[in-house]
């Protein structure tokens, strides 16, 4: 598929795919914005 736009979908515990809730989006953003979860810039190709 074309990698043009990221969707905010969650695959749930029962295997169904659904839009993420606002709380879940906030939690994922917390991970993505936390520098502890970034690959070191020196290590990236």
């Amino acid at each position: 598929m074309a990698k043009s736009k990221q969707d905010s979908y969650i695959v749930d515990v029962d295997g169904t795919t659904r839009p993420a809730t606002a709380e879940e989006i906030a939690q994922l953003e917390a991970i993505r914005q936390d520098p502890q979860h970034k690959l070191s810039a020196r290590a990236e190709a």
Partner: protein, 180 residues
């Protein structure tokens, strides 16, 4: 019979079968372009430790870690993740580090946008009411790495939540084996 070589028609003796070290618990497919994916019924009282084998991991954007959070029921634990490890660039030959102190998830394996991410991760005592440990190794088109750590709570977990450390995940498989 001479364990572990079985012949067609052999009786499967309990002593032989109970000596089998790894059993496939489940295979989970990571869909394209998802913010996170939850693996249910991954851990149970059947096994103390688990081997997760990742293959064909793909990132929606950029090189990134696959982050893992532990979950039970409808509650995902979002604090108390500790880890430390080393990463390398396969092309630049440089060494990097990854350290997380009371973070919201573990950094585990990694992937880029070519779907070549692969690696493995041992998870220790996730279902026991003690802190859960892990040890991961990986390689992908952008580099390699190894990272270890633990989750500090004594919660009994039965599920995993996979997400990207900086973007959506875009595919891959995870095979979970229980280790006696």
């Amino acid at each position: 019979m001479t364990y572990p070589v079985f012949q067609a028609g052999d009786i499967l003796n309990a002593s032989d079968m109970n000596a089998v070290g790894l059993w496939l618990v489940k295979t989970h497919t990571i869909p394209a372009n998802v913010a996170s994916t939850t693996i249910s019924a991954a851990f149970s009282a059947d096994y103390p430790n688990y081997l997760l084998v990742f293959n064909q991991l793909d990132s929606f954007s950029g090189n990134q870690f696959v982050t893992v959070q532990l979950r039970v029921g409808s509650t995902t634990t979002t604090t108390g993740y500790y880890s430390g490890g080393y990463t390398t660039s396969a092309y630049a030959g440089s060494l990097g580090t990854s350290f997380a102190n009371n973070a919201s998830a573990w950094n585990t394996v990694a992937c880029g946008t070519s779907g070549l991410g692969a690696g493995y991760m041992w998870v220790f005592n996730p279902f026991e009411a003690v802190p859960t440990g892990y040890s991961a190794n990986y390689a992908y088109e952008g580099g390699t790495g190894q990272i270890q750590g633990y989750q500090s709570s004594s919660t009994s977990f039965d599920q995993l939540v996979l997400a990207g450390g900086s973007a959506n995940l875009n595919g891959g498989t995870v095979k979970i084996y229980g280790a006696r």
